[in-house]
Symmetry: C2
Subunit: 346 residues, 2 copies
């Protein structure tokens, strides 16, 4: 089996021609005799020659790529972000490496250190908890980096984030406008958070926005903020605190799920109590990720501006690569309300 990969030189020697001729023949240049081209091609294929993309890239100087570090969660909102980043990069002729955090032991830091030998020019870290570690690792190997993240409190990277507080406020205002007063909020148990939810900043922000809206409307319903650590566990059947609430005879007018993926267990819990959505209870979410489309009924939610987020991250990175010094701050993008059946008036 191919001891060392055949190179241009091997082909040239074997074919009895010069390096340049081989290169030309293989690239289908017109200025090579048909005969020579044929012979070179034959030898090349006999030797199993494959051009080195690395050498080509260096020589032509036309190649550039960015690295995207994606979280380990099997599914989620990072996917449309990745796609948006790929589009934005693609338009600029930039390629994208994808590095799931879990594929390298030692976590994001060793992953990044491993990037020293990779022809990449920058890093987009999606939802990686420890920004400080990322920053340190990237500085060590001299790679610019931006984050797309809304769970980290302490910023060490330029960070692209959806405006969670304003978005949540807008959603609760929307529910209030529709006549709902007793609005429950599900999913605020920061203490029990699974790792993949990081420091949970977005949870605090969304809850804060929710409370702002209630307060502005003169509504008090702190008793309806349900802490639930199960958030994020795709497999969860129901939401125990909501189950308890309903069992105690309290039925809210509406339920605001801190994230779309909380809606399925919420809906199951409601169904178990014979409540139907939206007739008996309105339900809303946040993110507009796939979960919002798969539930029955489909979910009214605040949509994260995935395209803009991916695009902005790529832009920032390109500027950093061009030599600009990016300030460590949050770049906040607005969420938009998407209305679906789950809050429809009956």
């Amino acid at each position: 089996m191919a001891a060392a990969r055949a190179t241009l030189a091997d082909v040239a020697r074997e074919a009895g021609v010069g390096l340049a001729t081989v290169s030309r023949a293989l690239n289908g240049r017109p200025d090579v005799s048909a005969e020579t081209t044929a012979r070179v091609r034959e030898v090349a294929s006999a030797l199993g020659y494959r051009p080195s993309g690395t050498a080509r890239a260096l020589r032509r100087g036309s190649f550039s790529a960015l690295s995207v570090i994606v979280p380990d969660s099997d599914w989620g909102w990072w996917e449309p972000v990745l796609r948006a980043a790929a589009s934005a990069a693609g338009e600029a002729g930039i390629h994208l490496f994808v590095h799931p955090v879990g594929t390298v032991e030692g976590g994001p830091e060793s992953l990044i250190e491993g990037l020293a030998d990779v022809p990449t020019e920058g890093v987009i870290a999606i939802s990686v908890p420890d920004q400080q570690a990322i920053r340190a690792a990237c500085d060590r190997i001299g790679l610019p980096v931006v984050a797309i993240d809304d769970s980290t409190h302490s910023l060490h990277l330029p960070t692209v984030t959806v405006d969670n507080r304003a978005g949540a406020r807008a959603m609760t205002e929307h529910l209030i406008e529709r006549g709902h007063r007793r609005i429950a909020f599900v999913g605020a148990a920061l203490e029990e958070l699974s790792d993949s939810w990081g420091e949970g900043l977005f949870i605090e922000e969304r809850l804060a926005g929710h409370r702002e809206a209630l307060e502005a409307a003169g509504i008090r319903s702190d008793d309806l903020v349900l802490a639930w650590g199960g958030v994020g566990s795709e497999g969860a059947e129901i939401v125990p605190p909501l189950d308890d609430l309903l069992a105690a005879g309290t039925v809210p007018d509406a339920i605001f799920c801190v994230a779309d993926l909380v809606a399925p267990p919420v809906l199951r819990t409601l169904a178990a109590h014979g409540l139907s959505v939206p007739a008996d209870v309105a339900v809303a979410g946040f993110d507009d990720e796939r979960a919002a489309l798969l539930t029955s009924p489909q979910l009214t939610t605040m949509r994260q501006p995935y395209d803009d987020m991916g695009r902005l991250a790529v832009d920032l990175l390109r500027r950093a690569i061009a030599g600009e010094d990016l300030p460590v701050r949050r770049h906040t993008l607005p969420a938009t309300l998407v209305e679906r059946k789950s809050t429809e008036r009956s």
Copy 2:
């Protein structure tokens, strides 16, 4: 703004030392005086110097990468496959490019041609319809390629596929064992298929497996095969043909959805007729993708062996890169039954 990126030579000139010294200093080698190291680093950062990953990769010869072409659909089963491929590649020290088809105009062919300048050694095409075009493009630039796909009839690439027929047969057998006789099959309208479902081979195969099981059990229920072209449209509210069937007073014992993502509209349709799952009707799917976890109730389904598929694709590709000639054939991997609430006996 950084006219041309600074190179090692620039730093060396500016710092008044040799190339080698700069390289050593920047890489933190111990055999450079602290003073020199400091000065070099200062100059480097003043110049905004960033090492060229490409040059490094070429020089060290340690870098290798594969390209994964992913379909344009926003969500779906390709995601766990990508992740599995990344893991398998990662373990072998191979990096992964991800190229969403849609990011390049001209489709997969021009995408692949563009890979000539990219330091990649092979291509994994996930769910790309036209294998012949892929093959031609890859041959042109001398890149080995394998496919992960179960919708294409005419093979031109080594292809990794789940065993759709056996899997579907197993599912229907399972439903029969549970006492169901009138089993509907939803989603077989090949004519109306959206592009993203390619030639729909898997639909035929799954239907065939379903029929085999029925036949073996002596059950006739061709009237319950519901053609529905809406398959794949995430937004679909309900399934009209099922709606018609139920409206006509026919209630099947069980419904086998050709793919998990058909289940949400099926469940909505059932709910609209006041039927509950699994009490009145059992529902099952195929794929075990995210949709299976988000429905209420969660879905019994045949799980595609995502990990094995990703791993096998990477293996095959590595063998091709090593010079082996891969036969153009289907590598079929078994699906496994995953039981959840949607088929539970009440």
